[in-house]
């Protein structure tokens, strides 16, 4: 029997190895299926373990930003902390609130986790190594991440708790608003590279798209911060205000899965940024070490996300909305406009852009970015200087002379 899909898999080194070793044992079509399952399990495994490590890593990073040590008791450097967390969460009571929709309540953690894992499928780790190299990879990612808003809303609604509903409503509002700038900023990338497949995007980056489209990166970064409910946009789970927002009522393993989904979303988003904007596996090292280079880039993105989280306070819901519709959307539209015009002018005869064209675009785009940020800042923010004109510092004599208040 001829393997119908063999042509596609030949480029994927992991598929080749596993398939090759299996095809001696079983017919071609079942070897394909088994290879697929094994590879996907392999990816999901890496992902879950790195999510667990991310809980440790983020707490240590946050601690160092605050000049204190993070968790360091369990295991060397505290690396077994996720296992301690997992054990404690497993032993917790699995409550289902009275009056809640039981089936929905139990299914919700899976609903939240599912989009994150599904996006993993299209991310290439090395040339040719992706679980499924769809030629509409970007569209797939954007479509699947929209599903996460559904999960959050069902979580809040099925909890039968006022705080949860508050958090859910806010969360959905933020998520669907920030979809728009994110999509438009990724469109710019697609136009430059000419295809939606993630592998092609990486190969089209002779210079990383970070430099060619700084505004695109800025918009995507801020937009995906909001998508993941991270500070400064984390009102859906604002700890000091509404206790825990949409996941108030989840305890035990359900909470663990939701937290894992949140950190996993951060890893996946960092991976997307690393691939689309930072150049994937290209670097000064030889090709087969490409996975190492992409790992470094993902870690840098994670570091920046955590850095922003440690520093900035939270915005209010109406300010978040204002920021999205008045700030990010015009920025992304200007970005798209600039990219379209430049590509149209600079395109070569067969529709490809050369490296020199990319550098020209880089310079122009950087200037546009700086101008847009300054102009928008003046337009939409009402910045006043820290010392308001009415406030003053009086000396004692002035206080006694003027003040007749009691």
């Amino acid at each position: 029997m001829i393997c119908v899909l063999e042509g596609f898999y030949q480029t994927n080194i992991i598929y080749r190895t596993i398939h090759g070793s299996l095809s001696g044992l079983m017919p071609c079509w079942s070897a394909t299926i088994v290879t697929g399952i094994m590879f996907s399990l392999f990816l999901v495994n890496i992902f879950l373990v790195s999510t667990a490590l991310m809980t440790w890593g983020e707490r240590r990073l946050l601690g160092r930003f605050q000049t204190r040590v993070g968790p360091n008791r369990w295991g060397p450097f505290g690396l077994l902390q996720p296992i301690a967390d997992l054990i404690s969460l497993l032993f917790k009571e699995n409550l289902i609130p009275r009056g809640s929709d039981k089936i929905l309540f139990i299914v919700v953690p899976i609903l939240i986790m599912m989009p994150v894992i599904m996006v993993l499928g299209v991310i290439p780790l090395a040339p040719g190594v992706a679980l499924a190299d769809l030629n509409v990879g970007v569209l797939y990612i954007l479509a699947i991440t929209s599903v996460s808003s559904l999960g959050i809303f069902i979580a809040g609604w099925s909890s039968n708790n006022r705080f949860a509903i508050f958090g859910a409503v806010r969360g959905v509002a933020v998520l669907i608003s920030y979809e728009v700038p994110v999509v438009i900023s990724l469109l710019g990338i697609v136009i430059i590279s000419g295809s939606m497949s993630l592998l092609d995007i990486v190969e089209a980056q002779a210079i990383p798209f970070l430099m060619v489209q700084p505004m695109g990166l800025l918009v995507f970064f801020i937009g995906s911060s909001a998508e993941m409910n991270r500070t400064p946009f984390d009102i859906a789970e604002a700890e000091s205000e509404i206790i825990a927002g949409f996941h108030t009522e989840f305890s035990g393993i359900k909470f663990a899965i939701i937290q894992a989904a949140e950190y996993g979303a951060m890893i996946v988003t960092s991976a997307i940024i690393a691939i689309v904007f930072l150049g994937g596996w290209s670097g000064p090292l030889p090709e087969y070490l490409g996975w190492f280079w992409i790992l470094i880039k993902v870690l840098v993105c994670v570091f920046v996300f955590t850095w922003v989280r440690a520093t900035l306070p939270r915005l209010r819901i109406d300010q978040i909305m204002a920021f999205c519709w008045k700030g990010l959307l015009p920025m992304s539209l200007i970005n798209l406009l600039a990219v379209v015009i430049e590509t149209f002018i600079l395109k070569g005869p067969n529709g490809q852009l050369s490296v020199a064209d990319l550098w020209i675009m880089c310079v122009i785009n950087t200037i546009i970015t700086v101008c847009t940020v300054i102009v928008l800042n003046k337009l939409i923010s009402n910045k006043v200087d820290p010392l308001r004109s009415g406030s003053k510092i009086l000396s004692q004599r002035e206080l006694l002379l003027d003040g007749q208040g009691d």
């Binding site: 605050q66 400064p232 900035l312 923010s381 910045k383 308001r388 510092i393 004692q396």
Partner: protein, 369 residues
């Protein structure tokens, strides 16, 4: 077609991550807007005023420590002033300087907590500015430990002066603190005062007009942030405040940012006062030679007040000739400042609720006594 919405009443309960203690607030929301707010107090009531009737005048000093537990020096100071007025004695000069100095140190520590928690409630997750504020506060608490053996519930002052002289290592570590703290403070200000998100969230939010503040007998930084020129250390000087030179920050419209700004500036002024005290202090008696068991003449009464970090703290004592006061009444600033919370919250959003509550800076130990 109009959508029918229903107001929702939520209990921000006594157990909440950020209500400064066991404080209960019943709020009615219409969407995100607050239409009604009702505070419910009494979860930390320990009967301090009744307990004071059973203890003699020196033992009550330990009771007063625990009122505003983030600022116990000023509690002690207010009480000792009240007792001294009752007995009609005056503390020696060195005791006055020591009291002023430690009270200002305590003011810095208390404002650091207020500012740190204010920023924590704004949402800096995990509390980066909170950790910085606590790091600075550790040094002050270390100095207090050197001075009187405890860090928070100090009982440092006694009627008639201070409890004991500071050891020699206190002065050197105070010098070090005065040198290093301004740079820590500048770092915190860098992190905060130019932060647009902070500006956007606290400017023009929950303003309190000067007239409303005066009508509700608000005092302390909340009053000064509303533009009223009032500071007990200047209007009615006690201890050594008439001998040192300092400025008083006055805000303009009394929004959250003004209250926050007034506290940060007061910390700077406190540093000035401490420096002048260290220069001007001279050797001498630190405590009057009063008998161990004090008795005041029958029928006398007194009211001693200080400018505590949270407002005007006053003690009213009425004596019947025995070893304990017949009645001790505490005028606690947090309780009276809390009465304006209705005006501060109604009309603003859920996200502002916790921040406005934090900006008044209440301490439940004082509110419930």
């Amino acid at each position: 077609m109009s959508i029918r919405t229903e107001p929702m009443t939520i209990n921000i309960g006594p157990q909440h991550p950020s209500t400064h203690g066991v404080f209960r607030l019943r709020v009615t929301f219409d969407g995100e807007d607050i239409i009604e707010a009702e505070p419910i107090l009494g979860y930390l009531h320990r009967g301090t005023e009744k307990l004071a009737e059973e203890r003699n005048y020196v033992q009550i000093v330990t009771l007063t420590d625990r009122l505003d537990y983030t600022a116990s020096m000023t509690n002690n100071q207010a009480y000792c002033l009240a007792v001294e007025k009752l007995l009609e004695v005056e503390a020696p000069l060195r005791a006055k300087y020591l009291r002023t100095m430690t009270a200002e140190l305590q003011r810095i520590a208390s404002h650091l907590i207020a500012v740190g928690f204010f920023l924590q409630e704004l949402g800096t997750f995990g509390g980066t500015p909170l950790m910085y504020a606590f790091r600075a506060r550790e040094r002050i608490l270390d100095m207090f430990e050197m001075l009187c053996g405890a860090r928070i519930t100090l009982s440092y002052m006694r009627p008639g002066g201070v409890f004991w002289d500071p050891p020699s290592e206190f002065w050197s570590s105070l010098d070090e603190f005065l040198k290093e703290f301004p740079s820590d403070l500048a770092e915190m200000e860098d992190l905060l005062l130019n932060n647009e998100i902070l500006m956007v969230r606290t400017r023009e939010v929950s303003p309190l007009s000067a007239e409303e503040a005066i009508n509700n007998s608000v005092s302390g930084p909340v009053l000064r942030a509303s533009g009223v020129k009032m500071d007990l250390r200047v209007m009615d000087p006690y201890d050594a405040y008439s001998m040192v030179d300092f400025d008083v920050p006055i805000g303009s419209i009394g929004d959250n940012y003004d209250r926050f700004w007034v506290r940060m500036q007061e910390v700077r002024q406190s540093l000035r006062i401490i420096e002048q005290c260290v220069d001007q202090i001279e050797p001498g008696d630190y405590r009057l030679d009063l008998p161990k068991v004090l008795r005041a003449p029958e029928g006398t009464e007194s009211y001693g007040k200080v400018e505590a970090p949270k407002g005007e703290l006053g003690f009213y004592l009425f004596s019947d000739g025995g070893i304990s006061p017949y009645r001790m009444k505490i005028r606690s600033p947090s309780l009276i400042n809390l009465s304006v919370i209705d005006r501060l919250l109604v009309g603003w959003k859920l996200a502002d609720m916790i921040v406005s509550l934090g900006s008044i800076d209440i301490n439940m130990g004082e509110v419930d006594r």
